[in-house]
């Protein structure tokens, strides 16, 4: 019952914002907002792998690319036909586009999840940095393959993707990944993931199937990265393999670590900060990226555990600060 209320409330809020925002924000701010949302999805989904489970993955851009290209190809070859057919049948355009987009995103997410399964499997044998290198290699392989396949545009990129993803859909994606992360963290399965992060041997001794859970973390994380990639594709209407280099993966890792490994709200906060920072620094032109990198270094030196550590921002605790202090025993 509560869950239904939450879902309905979120959808209503997003719909309302979707109507209001494009009128109030200029296109530049709107674009930054959308990219913030997509980066939040990427950071929170990577946090499931790196933060919750302690598996070091540097291939997140690869999952994003698979989801982006998969969903874009679907929309270009099938989805557009659906929308035309539905529109001919009298269905309003936003609903027809939404249905096609949802299918495309689900498909992109599932493709990425399949890749996540394949990448997660070697974690049976590989630990730590060796696993990290396999994920990195996987991400690069995906990019090089995309660059060489003419059907998806190769190195020239893939133009003309229908721009169906508006604020509502990105918001829904963010809400989805947040809800899954939060519920996972409070479930038995989430506890199993944390146990693996803290001590693999101890977790195994307590009967946690560590391989299955590691693969599960990869599958869920990859799924949402794929959906984020799909939203990215349907927002910009254009994809280029150069958007998915390992530098993109590293950006996402920086968000997760900067926010505090394992903290969902930390990932959100850091994703927003790291998306805004280069934009805020635009006036200083050529010094922009130098300042950006210096700030990452200084932040890590001053707060090595990340902005929030492993804690979560909670409204209740925040409000509690303003209440008169209760006596503690």
């Amino acid at each position: 019952m509560r869950r239904a209320a939450w879902t309905a409330g979120t959808v209503a809020l997003l719909l309302a914002l979707d109507l209001v925002l494009p009128g109030t924000l200029n296109p530049y701010h709107m674009q930054i907002l959308m990219l913030c949302g997509i980066n939040v999805m990427l950071a929170v989904s990577l946090n499931l792998i790196n933060g919750f489970t302690g598996q070091f993955s540097i291939g997140h851009a690869g999952f994003m690319a698979i989801g982006g290209y998969g969903s874009a190809m679907f929309s270009l070859h099938v989805g557009r036909g659906w929308v035309a057919a539905l529109a001919a049948g009298g269905v309003p355009a936003p609903i027809a586009q939404g249905a096609a987009l949802l299918t495309a995103l689900a498909l992109g997410g599932l493709l990425a999840a399949g890749a996540g399964y394949l990448v997660g499997l070697p974690s049976l044998r590989l630990r730590g940095d060796y696993l990290a290198i396999v994920t990195l290699g996987f991400g690069e392989i995906i990019r090089v393959v995309i660059q060489n396949v003419d059907a998806v545009g190769g190195a020239r990129g893939l133009p003309g993707i229908p721009g169906w993803a508006d604020f509502f859909w990105v918001g829904l994606g963010v809400a989805g990944v947040l809800a899954v992360s939060r519920n996972l963290a409070h479930s038995t399965h989430g506890r199993a993931l944390f146990a693996i992060r803290e001590d693999e041997v101890a977790a195994e001794a307590l009967g946690v199937n560590i391989t299955a859970y590691k693969v599960l973390a990869f599958v869920i994380g990859a799924f949402f990265a794929g959906v984020a990639g799909g939203l990215f594709a349907h927002y910009l209407s254009y994809l280029n393999p150069n958007s998915f280099t390992f530098i993109k993966s590293i950006e996402v890792i920086a968000m997760v670590v900067l926010g505090g490994l394992g903290s969902v709200s930390g990932s959100v906060l850091a994703a927003v900060i790291l998306t805004l920072l280069p934009e805020v620094l635009r006036p200083v032109k050529e010094y922009r990226m130098v300042i950006y990198s210096l700030m990452i270094i200084v932040l890590m030196i001053t707060r090595p555990q990340g902005l929030l550590g492993t804690r979560e921002l909670s409204l209740r605790r925040l409000l509690g600060r303003f209440r008169p202090a209760r006596e503690t025993a």
């Binding site: 044998r125 290699g137 670590v257 050529e286 270094i297 890590m300």
Partner: protein, 300 residues
């Protein structure tokens, strides 16, 4: 067949450059368990330092072997200083922090060097002067080797032998091996762990600088982002050989260089990067700790 031997020569030359860079990764990893992402950018700085040294010393206009050697040494010294500064001001403060924070710091340093490089050197590629005029030496059977390739091979083999000597036969090398076993135990034996870590960074940076100069000799186009891909590949090579293992880095570098050159020659130039990584994944699945890596028993 001569085609194959020609590619073999090219692959070994290219691989020895990877090996030089990989050595820096592997030494730092062996001691700090840190992937020093900025290492590839130190390699870039090496090429640029040599570029400016060659211009100021006039070696660019009147090339002499002694002048070329001097340029190489200046660049190595310059990068040694850079390595010291990076270690002192970026990595030392996070040494007691979780490993991933140190990694993000390394990524930050890498971004800083790349963007600082764009700011200082400009984003456009520069042309490295011919400090050694190119000529080809026939090896018989239609196989040739350029004098630059000979220099790359000689210098990198000399540096690797030098490094092996330092690590195996000097007091500081012994201390390095001790620190890589255990910081605490090494400190208890009276070794200044901080000094050894600094020394390792400086040593690794000078090797990266040498690699940068050697590559610039053969491919004279240098630009501030040139370190990203070779750095990444060299790191992969270090893992391939078994990270933390010095002979492993050399083996990994050679495997990587040969694989790349052979893929370009016989399969497809555009799939070069992908196949390097496929090879990596296959090798790691068969030998999870790298080619020469040792399996550490898991202690409970």
């Amino acid at each position: 067949m001569s085609e194959f031997f020609q590619q073999l020569v090219n692959g070994v030359t290219w691989g020895s450059v990877y090996a030089l860079i990989a050595l820096g990764y592997t030494m730092v990893y062996g001691i700090l368990r840190l992937i020093n992402f900025a290492h590839g950018d130190v390699y870039m700085l090496g090429a640029f330092f040599a570029f400016f040294a060659a211009r100021w010393l006039g070696v660019a206009r009147s090339p002499t072997p002694a002048g070329a050697l001097l340029v190489l040494l200046i660049s190595m010294a310059g990068c040694g200083v850079v390595g010291y500064v990076i270690e002192r001001f970026a990595y030392k403060p996070v040494r007691k922090s979780p490993r991933l924070s140190a990694l993000i710091t390394a990524i930050g340093v890498s971004l800083l060097l790349e963007n600082g490089g764009i700011l200082v050197f400009g984003p456009d590629p520069k042309f490295f002067p011919q400090v050694i005029p190119a000529s080809n030496i026939p090896l018989g059977g239609g196989v040739t080797i350029s004098n630059q390739q000979v220099i790359i091979l000689l210098v990198s083999v000399a540096l690797m032998l030098g490094l092996t000597f330092v690590v195996l036969h000097t007091r500081v090398g012994k201390a390095m091996r001790a620190v890589s076993h255990s910081h605490t135990a090494a400190a208890l034996m009276g070794i200044s762990v901080d000094r050894i870590i600094t020394f390792t960074f400086v040593l690794g940076s000078t090797l990266a600088a040498a690699a940068g100069v050697l590559v610039a000799l053969q491919n004279p186009k240098i630009e501030p982002l040139m370190g990203i891909m070779p750095g990444l590949k060299a790191f992969v090579a270090a893992v391939l050989g078994g990270i933390g293992n010095i002979p492993g880095a050399v083996v990994g570098g050679l495997v990587m260089g040969l694989a790349e050159v052979m893929v370009v020659a016989y399969l497809s130039p555009t799939y070069r990067d992908a196949i390097a990584f496929v090879l990596l994944i296959v090798i790691l699945l068969v030998r999870p700790a790298g080619i020469l890596g040792r399996y550490a028993a898991e202690k409970v």
